[in-house]
Amino acid sequence: MSALVEVRDLVVRFGGKRSLSSLVTGRSDSITAVAGASFAMAEGETFALVGESGSGKTTLARALIGLTPAASGSVSFQGQSTLGLAGAALKRLHRDIAMIFQDPVGSLSPRFTVRGLLAEPFRIHGLADRDLDAEVDRLLGLVGLPRAMADRLPHQLSGGQARRVGVARAIALSPKLVIADEPTAGLDVSVQGEVLNLLNDLRETLGLSMLIITHNLNVVRHVADRMAIMYLGRFVEVGTTEAIFAGPRHPYGLALLSANPEPDPDARPNRMALEGEVPSLLDRPLGCEFHGRCPFVRERCRSEAPAVTSDPDGRLFTCHYPLTPGVISIGGTPHVAEERPDLR
């Protein structure tokens, strides 16, 4: 099974201005938004990147599509490297990978009608000789919008409608991979399902592969086959959605899963509350970067960064003392799993 996307040790940095103070302190102001990410996506798969603010998930996606330059590492799409592409090759990449942006209305050029927005991809790639009106109608139909929408301006659309236009634009040139950045952000609960159902349907009818970026675990559960949890620019756990939901190995994964209150007043608070906040990217903790907030922290965690461990079932995690599903009892003091030398 050949991978559609393969990412190896990707590093993305921002800033790095040389200022007088940085010369003195020896610290440059650059932040490492993505600190060495590796994963692979198969064709037809829906993969979710999960994380909170500062986790680097949006930066990673933008590096994949060439909007942000990478400092090091490799990204290959259908076997070809995508980093450092320029000109015609980069343009070709943009036909194969499309992105749906977080702000439904803000990601649509304010003076273009829906028709103009949907025709842009064709015009950009020199396909303006096609019957653009027909293409626009086709796309509107695919996302369930009435033809009358075509003459509206972005500020005249509701959040849900604008989101659909974004989806239609992304699939205009039949890309192989669609990256959806927080597809449910800004949408009411009663409308979120529409977008997710739409993406699922399109996945099936058009044979798309999808990379979904979200902090909403509820969404992940229903749309993604596999997922990766990011913290401070690194992957802390990667695996199938089902397996991770059943039992995360990394304590941060457990924290995320428990930070999801069920709308049930009687639900037992099965939770692991985290202390503190996400550390600043300018001041990365030593050792395991999660050690400051981890309830299971031990001496080793403070000084030694854990290596990536892989499970026989394909689960990857970076933790010295991973949780063992089934052993943990939540709602009381969780038990820490013992170190598993057999996995190293």
Partner: protein, 270 residues
């Protein structure tokens, strides 16, 4: 409401334009024919606005003066916009070093006092309409460039720009179709408000002998001549001032109406 005012503005501007085009027909006398015997006459059937200190028909001078006024104000402003907005867009969207270089140029030009600039240019080009236009461009273009640059800087990271980049749009396309239309509105308003200022620049230069040379009629020079002889007759001042007021109002109203049409949130709101 800006709608009826915009219409008024349009009417005034169109009137001025038509007068300029059909000056020969509208003015019944020559603007430069001297008749010292008839100096300082009040408005009458023969001379609709009276005569100036040399007996020239003021109405004819005003009518022909509209040509100068329009060619300077529209021509110079248009050229300033073209130059300024283009360089501003490039400075805002392009690489850092280009931005820094262009900023140096903008700020250097802006720091020249207009009068010194006028003097310097006139020694190069000689006193003329062209000199006035050049002075206007050099004074105005850097301001427009700065405005365009600032707006471009704030828009370039907007999500819709990122979205178009992700579709594969090149810089040229992004600047021309996605950035320019979204920033031009406020700049056009400022430009339309600048038009009367341009007329003042022309008047000032003509006063210093750096602009249009007599006997070519320009509203600014009519006004200036009128000030010298205001004790003899108020009519030259009125004749010079009135068209400036009308044109200023016209362009201002038009500019405000333009701004409303350029704001997509106001048009077609349903």
């Amino acid at each position: 409401m800006s709608e009826p005012l915009g219409a008024v503005g349009l009417v005034l501007v169109v009137a001025v334009v038509l007068v300029a085009i059909f000056a020969g027909v509208v003015a019944r006398h020559s603007p430069i024919a001297l008749a010292p015997i008839d100096r300082f006459q009040a408005p009458s059937e023969a001379h609709l606005m009276g005569t100036d200190n040399l007996g020239r028909d003021l109405f004819a001078r005003v009518v022909y003066g509209s040509r100068i006024a329009l060619s300077i104000s529209l021509g110079a402003t248009l050229l300033s916009l073209l130059l300024g907005v283009t360089t501003g867009l490039i400075a805002g969207y392009g690489p850092r070093w280009l931005d820094n270089a262009l900023l140096l140029v903008f700020d250097a030009l802006k720091s020249f006092p207009t009068v010194m600039l006028a003097l310097a240019l006139v020694t190069l080009v000689g006193p003329s309409l062209q000199a006035v236009i050049l002075v206007v461009i050099i004074s105005a273009a850097p301001s427009y460039a700065r405005m365009a640059r600032t707006q471009t800087l704030s828009v370039r990271h907007a999500e819709f720009v990122l979205a178009e980049r992700s579709l594969g749009a090149g810089s040229g396309r992004i600047i021309a179709t996605h950035i320019l239309p979204n920033i031009i509105g406020p700049i056009l308003i400022v430009a339309s408000m600048d038009i009367p200022v341009v007329v003042a620049i022309e008047a000032g230069m003509s006063f210093l002998g750096l602009g249009v040379r007599p006997p070519t009629p320009s509203w600014g020079s009519i006004l200036n001549d009128g000030f010298s002889y205001i004790r003899e007759s108020p009519w030259p001042v009125i004749a010079g001032g009135l068209p400036i007021i009308i044109t200023t109002l016209g362009f201002t109203f038009l500019g405000e109406a333009l701004r409303d049409t350029f704001d997509p949130k106001r048009s077609g709101s349903r």
